[in-house]
């Protein structure tokens, strides 16, 4: 395996266009969390023409609902949740300048098309490696929708957060290609 690429958000178009499906990436810096309920609220605001509680330009959203934080720890276990549930919302957020999403599982063609059109990427974190991933999160702060509990939007400071590029902005898909490579006909 090749050496991982280091990324620090906010990301520019040129950071994103060089990424290829299958690249290993380590993210250091600020990322935001959001899953089903938070996504619905963000997109509802866009439909109403109202401002969002966070500026998405160049940012990465991590699809996660962590376990409660133990005293003295920055966060609880925080692995990725299944991404297709965010498919209905992601194109609108990509249009707002969102540059990356981290989750697990396949995305719809609409999301893939939006990533190509507006230059964004989809990363996978290893589903179920939540305890391991939590060690790469240095701090966590709720920045919106505290009432949603585990689904609130959090700002995370991460160091060497390990992900792999699944969908790049040329429409490639590691889930499809990886499965084809190892399928026994």
């Amino acid at each position: 395996m090749s050496e991982p690429i280091i990324l620090t958000p906010p990301l520019k178009d040129e950071d994103v266009v060089g990424l290829r499906s299958g690249d290993r990436v380590l993210i250091t810096g600020t990322i935001y969390t959001g899953r089903d309920a938070a996504h619905k609220r963000l997109v509802d605001l866009l439909h109403e023409g109202k401002p969002l509680p966070i500026d998405l330009a160049g940012q990465i959203i991590y699809f996660v609902g962590p376990t409660p934080t133990r005293p003295g720890k920055p966060i609880g276990s925080a692995g990725p949740t299944t991404s297709y549930r965010m498919d209905a919302y992601s194109p609108s957020l990509i249009q707002q300048g969102l540059k990356g999403m981290i989750g697990k599982g396949s995305r719809s063609q609409e999301v893939i098309d939006a990533m190509v059109r507006y230059r964004a990427v989809y990363f996978a974190a290893v589903g179920g490696a939540a305890a391991l991933i939590s060690r790469r999160i240095e701090s966590s702060q709720i920045v919106a929708y505290e009432d949603l509990g585990p689904e609130a939007i959090r700002k995370l400071e991460v160091r060497d957060f390990p992900v792999i590029v699944v969908n790049d902005c040329e429409g490639n898909d590691l889930y499809r290609d990886g499965t084809e490579e190892y399928a026994v006909k």
């Binding site: 395996m1 089903d36 309920a37 996660v64 609902g65 962590p66 376990t67 409660p68 934080t69 133990r70 720890k73 609880g76 276990s77 925080a78 692995g79 949740t81 299944t82 297709y84 697990k104 599982g105 396949s106 996978a124 290893v126 589903g127 179920g128 490696a129 939540a130 305890a131 391991l132 939590s134 060690r135 509990g149 585990p150 792999i164 590691l174 889930y175 290609d177 990886g178 499965t179 084809e180 490579e181 190892y182 399928a183 026994v184």
Partner: protein, 279 residues
Amino acid sequence: MREVSTEQITTAVKKMALEAAYELGDDVRAALNRGLDRETSPTGRDVINQLLENADIAKEGEFPMCQDTGLAVVFVELGQDVHIVGGDVNEAIQDGVRQGYEEGYLRKSVCHPFTRQNTGDNTPAILHFRIVPGDGIKITLAGKGGGSENMSRVMMLKPSDGKEGIKDYVVQRVKEAGPNPCPPIVVGVGIGGTFEKAALLAKEALLRPLGEANKDPELAEMESELLDRINKLGIGPAGLGGRTTALAVNVEMMPCHIASLPVAVNINCHAHRHKETAI
């Protein structure tokens, strides 16, 4: 008649809820190691190694294996000679779940279907009771994750679809689930019964230790064939391509109506949280 207190039941359930979230089963660990030996994809091997390291970190007791600590599904085999004292047994189990999820810093993942308002304490748990001979109680708790449960299905096949139709349906279901249920997965298959019984059989199939074949040789052969076919799909660990898509396929079967052929496929992720206690 033997007396068992609701307090004993609550304590046992609470302990299982905690342990299931922090301790990967020995059978699952062994199956992951077997997968590592066979896996030809470098990324796949890397993912399995991460999962083993993740299990070691979780065992220290501060971070659950996965942030989805599941909806608690509790199976109770209640001896007919047991007299439960001290209150409502249903509530005793719910209390155990409530206490375990709170004290273990486990995620509360239960909500109202329409408003999505969280119930706040991970209840109600799903309870299944069965009355059995004897004066013991066996309780099994499974913390069922949502991602893999969402990929599960019940299908009413036609009798003419036969055994081949069942096998094709199971493999197709796993193929369609792809990377979503956190492979390497465990596949529970329920065949026969009725619509709801097939689903319950599939869930019960997940409780059998990995690597232990069905006692019926025909079903054992079916399990082995299904596992082989599923691992040829190429989905692999985390769905990134590889030969370790499933760790096990467990099948349970019972007779069904002459007009029916119910099949249920219940998929579980590699965390495969379940614990058992005898009282």
